[in-house]
Symmetry: C2
Subunit: 413 residues, 2 copies
Amino acid sequence: MKPNQSIYLVGGHITDFIGKGRPDWDEDGDNPTLEEHLSEAINTAFDDTGVDPDAIDRGYIGNFAGECFANQGHMGALAQRANEALEGKPFQRVEGACASGGLACVNAVDALQTGSDIVMAAGAEVQTNVSAREGAGYLARAAHWETERELDDFTFPAMFARRAKHYKEKFDVTDEDIGYVVKKAYDNGNRNPKAHMRDIEVSLEEVSSVNDNNFCFLKNEELKPHLKVKDCSQVTDGAAAAIFATEEGLNKLGIDPNDCVEVASYGWRTSPLGDVDDYTVLGNTEQAAGEAYEDAGIKPSDVDVAEVHDCFAVTELLMYEALGWADPGKGAELARSGATAIDGDIAVNTGGGLISFGHPVGATGIKQVMEIYRQMKGKCGDYQVPDVPQVGLTANMGGDDRTTVSFVLKNLG
Amino acid sequence: MKPNQSIYLVGGHITDFIGKGRPDWDEDGDNPTLEEHLSEAINTAFDDTGVDPDAIDRGYIGNFAGECFANQGHMGALAQRANEALEGKPFQRVEGACASGGLACVNAVDALQTGSDIVMAAGAEVQTNVSAREGAGYLARAAHWETERELDDFTFPAMFARRAKHYKEKFDVTDEDIGYVVKKAYDNGNRNPKAHMRDIEVSLEEVSSVNDNNFCFLKNEELKPHLKVKDCSQVTDGAAAAIFATEEGLNKLGIDPNDCVEVASYGWRTSPLGDVDDYTVLGNTEQAAGEAYEDAGIKPSDVDVAEVHDCFAVTELLMYEALGWADPGKGAELARSGATAIDGDIAVNTGGGLISFGHPVGATGIKQVMEIYRQMKGKCGDYQVPDVPQVGLTANMGGDDRTTVSFVLKNLG
């Protein structure tokens, strides 16, 4: 989808992503609620951009499983509690599992094409209030419950262990190859004060091998060897909000387009639950991103900075291939080359990705576009890429490559 | 919202709405699953309209609490299992509690304004697989759980008992006044083979009084006298699907606009959870419908047929007032006059409404537009209104008047 007019990302806010392992997370459970995270993201987005809440025409809220984790649905009406100026404005929740945040951005961009001028996309998830095993059951609702839930108590980790197994076997990929992604994630997250996993120094050997801090936890014996704790994204609480506008919207707000990022295009593709042809390929991601590249008129090699959905370490390697940066089976070579490091040609997941920055499900897709914005506007502090990026890409994924959303963003100014 | 081009409702399908009290509902729980209901609605919509599934550009799925009732989220990808031709097309779930179906239609219409030509809105809910009390807890996730859940085990029934109490006290409305709506619902549902509550003859006296078949069930002593079993919408399983198209879409499909219904406008409004000013007024509904009337260029009295969200009997009376058909406190007079009966000037909920047709939450908003379509095209059999309606209105509501969606539909042909 190439928008029918210029659409701008004005800015927004990402909350601290918190959870077990972060010093300010309370083990006794006294942590911010879903509503508190969402409200902070929304109101700080107003503060940081200077956008008057009254100016918002509509809102789209990404959330996957609030009904389970927080006994709360009806997120459009929940979000409005953040700020009384929002009352009465059309708000709704959208859901596509872990791509819910990306879909919120898609809907915001669509709304701007149908008459709205200034639209908010926000997303949130709270997951640390239940055990990891219970939470894994909630997250398994993103798979086809009836046929896939029994794969393992940790259904999604098992589904991606299955991908790791096939990928390793087909292309002679090693645990150390996959470990490069893990080490990059932790190294990047260490520079990011918002990240869930901060101040955790890891060695390549430690993240590539089975040890007390990096054990295999699946029950499924066939898949168990193919996934270790540190290969996984985090169980995180947090929220993010982004404000999008048309040119007329920017005029109303008195904001210079050069202070914004342009939404050049998006790709969005959905495929049936449970129907994966080839575990070594992210086919839906490839097609959604392919559409985004084409509609933006760019090539994969034009991308300077990217946020990709590293729900598990192997996924990042598969993403490199799906997004056109590496040939099949060559994702690890790209990681080893340093090309996707903060100072690489295609800086990927500079803030630590889902593995270290964390993965509050409904927020992730919005965090992705906001991270591209922040890199383009030089707001990333210790993890700022050295050269101002001109072209950015996101790849947000729900379920096992079932709902995929990619944005191409271009720097202005 | 007046669409930026002509948008047509081509047709669709409503499944049988089933649940306790209907002969074909299995008390042992062997009933169609969420996926089965959704698939039936989708595929029969293709069959009934003759639309090739390949022609669909996008899909929006309304569902409120599949994560709780069916252990299933990610409904966009679930829906695609219905038909292999859908694979890869952009599908997402949208949620606004009991207005989720209305929002699916809103998104479909928006998508048609941004480049799509043929879009499906579908919705489903399965609720009969848990006890009524457990289900009431799931549905309470449409309220502000933290502050409203404790009102009663049956949170929403209590919230609308509160409305009934205030409405009765302010306007001297009686249980018999409210009973008129209940009797109309059951009488209409008796003519509708898809309705959950079929073949149940009720007298005005029976539905207006407390008796063995119509007892008060709330624990909250203050509110208990103000709601009886038959005042309530049903706990129902079911699904509905509707296909919308632009003029170019109709050309592709070879469908004559005169065989369709035109989407003249919609109104959509959201307000914060827990923030109701006046229990005797549906203020959000009034404003959403007001916007729809204005954008369609019609007056309330122009409406020939309507589907309104009678989640409880008193709500239908409040709807009459919010929708501009009766002055404050005069809704019951309108009901008593027969004006909203099948042969009345404004035929309301001709198939039995949520009280008798049933209320599979995520399907309801889509069922509403489909019922208007079916009345306009003479497809309602024993409950067909006598004169072909030219103007139709829907009023779908999520939570306690928190998310509201109204469509104005115009007959063609």
